[in-house]
Symmetry: C2
Subunit: 260 residues, 2 copies
DNA sequence: GACATCTTCGTACAGCGTACGAATTTGAAG
DNA sequence: CTTCAAATTCGTACGCTGTACGAAGATGTC
């Protein structure tokens, strides 16, 4: 009991991989025996990102990526510990592709920008929505992003905790709109019909099957939505509406606290 | 061109399965040749729900469910067309387990109830978050739920479209909180550490690797969060805060339009 | 009794992540 | 230059998944 037991390094191995470009490289060019790697980790991750953009996250298989470089499948495991780690690397690297614009003066516009930037990014890389479920990724680009987001809500009169929560609400909301849009696109691909076509094709079945139930409000609202944009939902308007309400709520909150 | 071509029934086959209990049964007890089914669709779906509750959605495999009933794996396919259809049935059936309480008079409390009911349900059945990605399910219990949600936002002064969007915002927000909670639990299971332990174990690595980057706000906010609840996030407070802001925004919106 | 219909389910296949270990290539040490 | 250790490459194999196919068995109707 007098000797400190061996600590088997509980630290997450993929952290160093995530930050590989920014580490101050204490003794970087160490022993370099063995053959040189034919490609770089960045190239692997970039290829995976492109694949996910083009064909969805399900198409990002170790075999498929390896084939892109003419490598054996198992060779990838000398670049990346496993698939989940690759997904995290993809997420951070994709995040790094978005340049962060200067923040406007106007508080409302600042909050809007945070949400819309996230939304645009998720439209460009919808698979980020699925990767989010894998792990809370704490990479360099994600950290930059978070700091930028906090700057957007700084100085409004929110507490530190409220700043974090406000960012979370905005990000989550943007993600939800992007997700519903993704689901819509997927449904169209799977069924081979547009949303309007699906409703037309299933109208008879639906009215037969729902004959015994009464949905006065749902019918009224559904009809209104259908007439407004020939579909059950319209992401762009949902974004405008929800974002306005959320920002209203946040700004009202700080205004109430410090009424000039 | 004079004969109407055969319509190959574009309608979704799982719709009738979803509504199997409410169909007015036009000629229900038709030909009933062949052996009787040993279990019912409801039993299969219930078993799948219990399995998902206990061990997560990944544990819901066709083989595992079949084994629960002592059936051959392929036998399940005479109950349910495929796994995705089963997931949709699970979602609707689980939704049906939640009883919908009467709506309060107070508008704020009504909106809060909509969000909190959703949140509680997602805590009870976290796998619903993953099923949501499979398909927009239009089952009887989900339809009941939607009608109830619309009643909660009816009479506030919102347009039909805004009613739908408001419900969507509340549902999405509740889902996000539930999701972050789920991810936190998963991370703890995977790493075998609590969140606080993870930060402790990775503190050295993190500060080494982030040495070259500056995150003044993130550090300040992170420290505040850590002190407040010994973790990076606290779902219960996020729920309270975000919900209050969103409801503020919605109520302000309708108040502004019809100022009594 | 014959037949059509429905249920049951064993086998098989393609695809996945990845554990394992052998073969190969390279830089450093003697 | 030789020797050796370390690093990379990658073929094979395993267990897991959903499910297509077709045979076998059970049951109600004619």
């Amino acid at each position: 009991m007098s000797v400190v037991p061996e600590q088997p390094d509980q630290s997450d191995p993929s952290l160093r991989l995530l930050w590989r470009h920014r580490t101050a490289s204490p003794e970087e060019p160490r022993t370099k025996r063995g053959p040189k790697q034919k490609v770089s980790v960045d190239e692997v991750v970039d290829a995976a990102i492109d694949l996910a953009d083009a064909e969805g996250l399900a198409a990002v298989t170790m075999r498929a990526i390896a084939q892109r470089f003419g490598l054996g499948t198992m060779t990838l495991y000398s670049y990346v510990p496993n698939r989940d780690a690759l997904l995290v690397l993809m997420a951070d690297q994709a995040t790094g592709r978005t340049v962060l614009p200067d923040l406007p003066e106007n508080p409302r516009k600042r909050l809007e920008l945070v949400a819309r930037l996230q939304y645009d990014e998720l439209r460009a890389h919808p698979w980020l929505l699925e990767v989010q479920d894998v792990r809370p990724w704490l990479g360099p680009n994600m950290s930059d992003r978070y700091e930028w987001q906090l700057r957007a809500v700084d100085g409004l009169g929110l507490s530190d905790l409220e700043m974090d929560q406000t960012v979370a609400v905005l990000m989550g909301f943007a993600g939800n709109i992007a997700r519903s849009e993704l689901m819509k696109r997927r449904a169209e691909k799977v069924t081979g019909m547009t949303e309007a076509e699906w409703w037309a094709a299933n109208y008879d079945t639906l009215s037969e099957v729902m004959a015994g139930s009464h949905y006065p409000l749902a019918n009224r609202v559904g009809t209104a939505a259908g007439e407004a944009y020939q579909a059950a939902t319209d992401p762009a308007r949902e974004l405008d509406y929800g974002l306005a309400r959320i920002i209203d709520g946040v700004l009202a909150h700080v205004a109430e606290r410090s009424p000039d």
